[in-house]
Amino acid sequence: MIIATNVHKQFGKLQVLKNISVTCNKGECIALIGPNGSGKTTLIKSILGMVIPDSGFITFNGKNILHDWNYRSYIGYMPQIGRYPDNMSIGQVINMMKDIRNHEGSLDEELIQAFDLEKLYDKKMRTLSGGTRQKVSACLAFLFNPDVLILDEPTAGLDPVATEVLKEKIIAEKEKGKVILITSHILSELDEMITQVIFMQEGQLVFHKNMIDLQQETGEQRLSKAIAQIMLKR
């Protein structure tokens, strides 16, 4: 569904992505992991068209995204740090997004209810805590029933209850056959849901493996241990 081919990106002198080629297929739930500054977010932003690669290309459903913008209507994105217009309230932001997206199918407001956001609808964005912002971001990502979910550190800042709610939601969406691309530092969170692992380091793709293969190779059930082992081998 999403194919990145030889994507290369440089910010000034710093090479952030070096010849990255990845493929994400339908029904996959991919964990994008790697140390800080390894280029995960940049890769995600490239897929979203927010960062434009210096060379290489990315296709979505077989179409190059460079001059396309409509493909984003199939993507729900939850940024690492959600930034919203300060002087708007939660309700206004959610309504504005509904208005701008002009979504035709049904809306998925499960998370809004699960997080009980409606109570906070009148709160201005600037007064929100990081956790509440994350909740808003999560709600927006799932709101339009997208085929692809891109979640950048979805659980950072969320309380354990909310984390649990979100995880369940992700798993439920995965069951529906959606592509899910997720980054997280807390690898233990990912165990239950992922099917694929993409490991990046210093802008390079270290490996892209099936979770089952990875488990067999390392003999470890848990992702964190498996990764640790691979890191040690290298």
């Binding site: 910010f11 932003k45 979203l48 068209g49 927010m50 960062v51 434009i52 913008w69 409509n70 493909y71 984003r72 209507s73 993507i75 994105y77 940024p79 930034r83 919203y84 217009p85 300060d86 002087n87 932001v93 504005m96 997004m97 208005d99 701008i100 997206r101 002009n102």
Partner: protein
């Protein structure tokens, strides 16, 4: 596109600075027209507002606004919306609101007290300058990531167009006074939208003085329908080119 534009406009119009700007202009033009004893003097005072205050407020407000819209822009970028539309919506929103503030603050008093061709030209130039400086602001923003630097650039741009450019021209005139540079000056003046507007209004305001030899050359150009049209085309270019460049740059920008 209309929807984003709607949100931008709604956001700006809620902004207290915009209201304060409109009120300030109203107050200034109202007091000018009621205090000055001749309409020519009043027009001159309004001219100074149009040539100095309006560009300054337009460029600084627009710069700050675009920086503050960063979150909004980011939010929209991950949505199925063309980048071009986001950028243009912000520009249109800024142009419309700055232009509206000017028309309410200066346009209405001028048309009430000084319903002449000069007054009309003054209002037209002021409205255009509002839009032009919003366009220049967008250019400044797209090239500087840092907000403080961006605002600094915007103020510098204003300083350049209001005084530095003229200083350089004056210096050049002293150096080249022995050469026939009258015609070249027409071209030079179109390199600065403030100068261009000033000359267009001057031609109506100081017509007698401009009927002298040099003035006559300017009059021959700017005073004709062709010259007037060309001047307005030049002013339009001052909108189109900065917006075009910033748009090009924005659609390639990493956010």
């Amino acid at each position: 596109m209309y929807k984003i534009f709607k949100y931008v406009i709604r956001d700006i119009l809620r902004n207290r600075i915009m209201l304060a700007y409109t009120a300030l202009l109203l107050l200034a033009s109202g007091s000018i027209f009621s205090l000055e004893d001749t309409s020519a003097k009043a027009i001159l005072s309004v001219l100074n507002i149009v040539l100095l205050i309006v560009p300054l407020v337009s460029i600084v407000f627009a710069t700050i606004y675009v920086y503050n819209s960063n979150e909004f822009i980011e939010l929209l970028l991950s949505q199925p919306i063309q980048r071009k539309k986001i950028w243009l919506s912000i520009f249109y929103g800024l142009s419309l609101s700055l232009g509206l503030a000017f028309l309410v603050g200066i346009g209405i008093p001028v048309l009430l007290f000084e319903r002449s061709l000069t007054g009309l030209l003054l209002v037209a130039c002021g409205a255009l300058l509002s839009v032009i400086f919003a366009a220049i602001a967008m250019l400044a923003v797209v090239f500087t990531r840092d907000k403080a630097k961006g605002i600094g650039t915007a103020v510098l741009m204003w300083l350049y167009f209001t005084i530095l450019f003229d200083g350089l021209v004056l210096f050049g005139l002293f150096q080249l006074s022995d050469y026939p540079i009258e015609k070249a000056m027409i071209v030079v003046s179109s390199l600065n939208p403030i100068d261009l507007s000033r000359i267009l209004i001057l031609l109506k305001l100081d017509i007698s003085a401009l009927m002298g030899y040099t003035g006559a050359i300017f009059q021959d150009f700017f005073g004709t329908a062709t010259g007037m049209t060309l001047s307005f085309v030049a002013l339009m270019l001052w909108i189109l080119i900065p917006v075009g460049i910033s748009l090009h740059k924005f659609s390639k920008k990493d956010l």
